[in-house]
């Protein structure tokens, strides 16, 4: 597994734990008098869907998509590394925005997430091809 894929997957696994901890807190607060910070539910959804599921999918895609016949087998690392930075920066901004109840921050974070996925897609699209080509 290339180190960059491992970075995506390890980050995803850490965020899985944080997302499930936030989900457990949400569930505990639902039926009891336990206090729940405002925005916890939104942060939980962002962490689970983007931080865990999407990030894991990107890491695995970078690892297993067909390699290039010439040049670096998985293409240049820089756009994918930048995608990891943008995705997690966007996630942090969106989660903080959700926790603070600041919708413009959530929107800004999601814009960074969109940029991350666009960058990743531009790098991955040439690798989506029949094997051996």
């Amino acid at each position: 597994m290339p180190p960059l894929a491992a970075r995506f997957i390890r980050t995803a696994v850490v965020l899985l734990l944080i997302a499930f901890a936030a989900g457990a807190w949400t569930l505990a607060a639902k039926g009891t008098a336990a206090a729940m910070p405002a925005g916890l539910r939104g942060a939980h959804a962002e962490l689970a869907l983007v931080g865990w599921a999407l990030q894991l999918a990107l890491g695995v895609a970078y690892w297993i998509l067909p390699k290039h016949a010439a040049g670096p087998p998985r293409g240049h690392d820089a756009p994918v590394a930048a995608s990891w930075v943008l995705l997690n920066a966007g996630l942090a901004v969106a989660v903080l925005g959700a926790a603070a109840g600041r919708e413009p921050l959530v929107a800004g974070g999601r814009l960074l997430e969109l940029a991350a996925v666009a960058l990743f897609a531009s790098h991955a699209l040439p690798r989506i091809k029949a094997c051996g080509r």
Binding site: R10, L16, L17, F20, A21, L27, A28, K30, G31
Partner: protein, 137 residues
């Protein structure tokens, strides 16, 4: 494909069918004259898809396909993955039963809290077994 992966994928497929069927019932509970509790199951039904199907599918395929940990235990400690399978499904079943009742005013708080803890424990078991297998080289 390891046995625990087969069970994770089977359970995931069952939750996918249950989640999609639940979506039909939640959306149509008024028209079908179903009890209010069915309409209140929306969040639980959503989690049947995201946790029961998607996350469980990821757990199973990751356990099957990720790089081997070593010659003696190629997929790590399988007992942790069996525990993840049992914990996540127990947590989901508990939530599916308790959440609609909570929406109707029944005291299901401890059951909901236990459901969250069971699912978190499943994620922790998966992480403990998977982490050493995720390494760049």
């Amino acid at each position: 494909m390891p046995a625990v992966t087969r069970w994770l994928l089977r359970a995931g497929m069952a939750w996918l069918l249950a989640g999609l069927a639940g979506g039909v019932l939640v959306a149509g509970h008024d028209a079908l004259g179903l009890p209010t509790a069915v309409g209140a199951a929306g969040p639980a039904v959503f989690h049947l898809l995201t946790v029961g199907w998607l996350t469980q599918l990821i757990f199973g395929v990751a356990h099957w396909m990720f790089p081997r940990a070593g010659a003696d235990r190629p997929r790590g400690r399988e007992a942790l993955m069996w525990a993840a399978l049992l914990l996540v499904n127990a947590g989901l079943l508990l939530r599916l039963a308790a959440e609609p009742l909570a929406a109707l005013g029944h005291a299901t708080g401890p059951a909901l809290a236990a459901s969250g803890l069971l699912q978190f424990a499943a994620a922790a078991c998966f992480t403990a077994n998977t982490w050493p297998r995720v390494r760049g080289r």
